[in-house]
């Protein structure tokens, strides 16, 4: 089973320096926070979609489509409970709170998509290197990348384990959501156990290869900022500056919205 998150393509997005990609991610993060009104979020959202297309990472987004769907629906509903407006729609839903919920959903969606793009286009080592070059201690960077690495391993063992149980007659495909979740729970025992076991070996393998032997450390991987990187950075800095300016100038707010 293919469980790697990194997509081994050679798109222009892949070729960007990891630092650039991290900064772009942060820029979008700041950018979306500047607007409440979904209409004002559309440019940012389009910017995210363009990146998704250029980096060819839609495949990974598709993998988490169910998570995204559940997240979007609950977000659209739940934000209404935390905001109200002047024009009632029905029950706790008002036109303004509805707009607000929609805006928040676009926000979450954009950030998740950016995260997926970052992971799909950047090798683990490049990601750590990028973070270290930006001032993060090596061990912290390594810890972050380790948790990312765990995802494919857990996914693979989950597949094998659910196959093993289905072979024994466990019917994971029928029943409503609750029944399925109930049937799925026992599977987590072997998943956890094998993950713990693997992590243990992983820890031993790390130490056996001298992890943390010295305070100083060299890096084989080299990173080079190119003109394209600087151009991309310039563009996204401009984007953030404009977004902040618009926010300060009072644009992008929903009139009549009260947040609790």
């Amino acid at each position: 089973m293919e469980a790697e998150l990194y997509l081994d393509y050679n798109t222009s997005y892949h070729r960007l320096d990891a630092r650039t990609k991290i900064i772009v991610f942060l820029c979008i993060f700041i950018g979306v926070l500047m607007f409440q009104d979904p209409r004002w979020l559309i440019p940012t959202f389009l910017l995210v979609l363009v990146q998704l297309l250029v980096s060819r990472s839609a495949k990974n987004l598709q993998r988490i489509r169910y998570v995204l769907l559940v997240m979007s629906i609950s977000s659209i509903v739940l934000w209404n409970f935390f905001a109200s407006g002047a024009t009632p729609l029905f029950w706790v839903f008002d036109v303004e709170s509805m707009y607000y919920a929609l805006g928040r959903t676009i926000l979450i969606f954009s950030i998740v998509t950016m995260g997926v793009i970052l992971i799909s286009t950047t090798r683990n080592e490049e990601l750590i290197m990028g973070m270290i070059k930006m001032g993060l201690p090596y061990r912290v960077g390594f810890a972050i990348s380790t948790s990312l690495r765990l995802v494919p391993t857990v996914a693979a063992s989950l597949t094998t384990i659910s196959q093993a149980q289905r072979s024994r007659g466990l019917d994971l495909e029928s029943g409503n959501v609750f029944e399925r979740v109930k049937k799925f729970l026992p599977l987590l025992v072997p998943v956890f156990l094998s993950t713990i076991r693997n992590t243990n070996i992983f820890g031993m393998a790390l130490e056996s290869r001298g992890f943390g032997a010295r305070d100083d450390r060299t890096y084989y991987l080299q990173m080079q900022m190119t003109k394209v990187d600087w151009a991309a950075l310039a563009f996204f800095f401009l984007y953030v500056a404009v977004s902040i300016w618009l926010n300060v100038a009072g644009y992008g707010k929903i009139v009549g919205l009260v947040r609790f």
Binding site: M1, E2, E4, Y6, D8, R123, N124, E125, T146, R149, P152, S157, T160, I161, Q163, A164, Q165, R166, S167, R168, G169, L170, D171, P186, L187, V189, P190, L193, S194, R197, N198, I201, F202, G203, M204, A205, L206, E207, S208, R209, G210, F211, G212, A213, R214, D216, R217, T218, Y219, Y220, L221, Q222
Partner: protein, 573 residues
Amino acid sequence: MTEPTLLIQDLTYRYRGTKENAIESINLALERGEFLVLMGPTGAGKSTLATCINGLIPHFHKGKLEGNVIVCGKNTRDHTVAQMAEDVGLVFQDFEAQLFSTNVELEVAFGPENFAVPREEIGQRIGENLAYVGLSDFRNRPPSTLSGGQKQKLAVASVLALQPKVLVMDEPTTDLDPISKMGIFEITNRLRQRSDLTLLVVEHETEEVLHASRIALLKDGRLVKVGSAHEILRDVDLIESLGLMPLGITRFFKDMCFETPAAVDLPLLPVEAETAYRNNSWQVCPQTYEALVAKEAETEQTFRAKEPLIRCRDLEFSYPNGVKALDGISLDIYPGDIVAIVGQNGSGKTTLAKHFNGLLLPTGGMITVNGKTTKEQGIFRLGQSVGYVFQNPDHQIFSETVYDEVSFGPRLRGLPADQIKARVTETLKAVGLEGAEEEDPFSMTKSGRQRVAVAAVLAVQPDVLILDEPTTGLDYREQRSMMDMVRRLNENGSTIIFITHHMWVVAEYARKVFVVKDGRLFLEGTTREVFSHEQALLEASLRPPHFIQFTNLLGHTMLRPAELIACTKGGGA
């Protein structure tokens, strides 16, 4: 006198929370350039001893350590594992869990990076070590796309990149197919000739340890015997009494009372064996051999007269990412048979077997079980007649007691309570775990858990039992008792299909063999037929056991020493 590279003095160790010592009073000294193989049954303390050498014990695993381990003058007590890494390299059995980079090159670079080796030199070390293990062409590949054998080679390269003086390998070939095994041992062999490196390998494949300079036998945490490899391997009785696999060739000559010229010269290798056999003017009696073959042909005919239980025609399977795993497989499996499916890591064996119980559905061609396609039956119904035991029992077991685990299947299928109880008792008896109902499966040994997994599948009383690598990770004695149990099930009417890398298991237990290569059926026939095609097997990355190679040299394929004894006439016999 020079100081030994590795010195173990009165080493005793007990894991925290256990009552017994895992290893006890071990004394061992290895000179520079020596190659020592550590052998012993499961639980003898081999891995414990191996992990003591680079300091994982006592630094990573907490427990009570007495005595000393001194590597190149450094006592493991006073240095962390990471600090020891420059002197001691450790390769683990599990080739998945010990690799963690996204790129072959960076995997090798990781060790030297930690020791602040200059970048140019790291590049040089990557080149050298990848070339050494034969992975130069894979420099930029993600390790996850490599085969099992290649992964293990990469693990070796990445440890060698630290330029250690001692290399410890803990069962490096257990999960590999015969040719990948040979690949690793070929590397070990070259390493052995490097006088700057001291090698310590934990292994239980006797045929592969012939090149060692010394062998240390371990049992219950104590050293039983340390001696030259040939001396130890010739002591077949001792090896067998420890629950290890004796060399088939040596066993045969020993049983033939081959006393001349001297017991110390018992042949070890196929070519030596052939010479010794002919020198003793022994001959294979053609009549006895023909009778053997004729009987097998007759059995084959009886099976062919039956209606096949599983029938595949031009079976094809492609994964969603477009990789074609099966490419037109046609085969018949008859009720009551016991067949082996063999092939290289990644050849498609497991994918094929997963079609037999409907876990995977073909993307082309057809497969029927009991006359109906697997698609129309579905996995839930098919699971009733085709049981599948997965390779790793830990992927299957999740209950707190053996009883719960074994009764899981029958309960799901709605059997009444009293019947379930009887079922569990009966099944546990069949797998040799009588009265273990209340035990916690997680505290059992690997072979115990393997049995629980088999019992859990057997409890629904399937007609067919598929076992994926049932003997991996078990020692010889456990492998034997596992397979004896499987054979008993077969004799009681179950159809058995097993996947394995252990060629001797195939030779001893299978009636028929299917060889899979690159998603196609490469060779099929009775076990004897298949093993007689040594050259073809080699193409599929397989290799018959030495004993069979020896009998092939004699012009007749014999599967067991006993067969050859029965067929031999003349000379001293």
